[in-house]
Amino acid sequence: MSNIIDARGLSCPEPVLMAKNAIDNASIDLSKAKPIDEITVIVDNEASMENVSRFLTSKSFRVEVFSEGGDFKIIGKIDNSGAMSKPEPSNSNSEPSIKSSKKGSNSHKQKILVFVATDRVGFGDDELGKKLMISFLKTIKEMGDELWRLVFVNNGVKLTIEDSVVLEDLLEYEKAGLKIMVCGTCLTHFNLLDAKKVGETTNMLDIVTAMQLADKVITV
């Protein structure tokens, strides 16, 4: 069901509370077939526009804003069907869909997990090895959206800290939707917990689970 709320003339936090009430009431009202999956909120100031957009995003709505005269029309949609059929490698919220999609539907598109356990590639010359790692991480984007997880453990976590040469690249990947996982035990071991600037601090269970779900694991 959908819902239209006219919150013009009201100031913060009223528009957010009206949207919240509409969503909350729908989800507890058993007489209604299903919770709100589309909601439109109209406001007349930018502050309310930003607040309502942020609120709907926090409730997993996909938000679009249209500016009309002095008013803003904020449309939030929960895209159930899309999340189920297409496994978005970029979106960790669509986790439940992964199992069903593993075999079948999108057979041409695989999920690749890259496991980086060092800050340099190969043995021999360490200087060369470090350069190769930089080059590897800058080139890895050529995998396109089949690149599904990037996992850093042991010395590899040093690539995620503030003075890492590839930090900008990793931040960009993350912004583009790649999920980057960084081993918390390793960060703690090197005393780098606060220095980490990209990715999600994670644990071995999450890493193992991700490996199991991946179609291909590449270890560096």
Binding site: C12, P13, S48, N51, S58, L171
Partner: protein, 319 residues
Amino acid sequence: MCGLPFPVDENVLIGIGTADDAGVYKISDELALIQTVDFFTPIVDDPFDFGLIAAANALSDVYAMGGVPKTAMNLVAFPLAKLGGAVLREVLLGGIEKLKESGTVLIGGHSIEDDEFKYGLSVTGFVHPKKILANQGLKVGDCLILTKPLGTGIINTAIKGGLASQSTIDMAVKIMATLNKYAAQVMTQFPITACTDITGFGLLGHLAEMISGTEIGIRIDSSLVQILPETVEFASMGLVPSGSHRNRKFRENMVELKSNISPVMRDILFDPQTSGGLLMGCPENQAENLVKRLIDNGVEESAIIGQVDENLKGIIRVE
């Protein structure tokens, strides 16, 4: 207020022309008068708490100027028929309690009937004319120290919406009702270069005032800024007061946010505060000692949050 024909007097040391916390008038070479006034509508449900907060907030401007409050007068606009005298009495009792704690005497006041309740005080204090702390005067290399956590504007918005838990309300009330007296006691023993208190313009707005029109800039490490519990959650839900958005629009050309600063953190740093902490500049070699002494004197949330940087001309960079 631009363009109004204000009277001029050579004894006005700090007047309406600068964006300072209070006015200062020189009486002699040894003594100057600090005057300030502040009042607002209730921000919490409990009338006694509201009294505590309104008084702590009004007294704060005197402390921020490096002075000591001496006398105060009540300002009351009250809907007697709607709320009843008992509520007003509780509010005034709260105010008196904070005045007592600060060593200030109440010497009068004025009240009117009004549909919307408002309460506040005018406060007068003393300061030595050579020891006035203005909000400008920061030197290159100074560390910036903030003495209270941020988030009261966002939490007050959540209280309005009925979403704040009692423990968060209690915490916010405690912070807002805390006098800046204890921070000022320590501060006046250090070579402070500039000071202000954080109120309606939010942390970044007040920082902008401290460097506006100067050649210096400021680096802020957002991870060092103390934030009240639940503030991040409420801000993530969009419970951000419109004042925060206004503050940002007003000062965004002076603020540079690094890419790791989320919009939520940005809004917290611009969040208008009620009875916020003191924000002071101090030479780097004394800053850690100052923070230690503040904490020893009970100002436990004090922290160094940034530093004056000569390379960032007129810019506040948030990392």
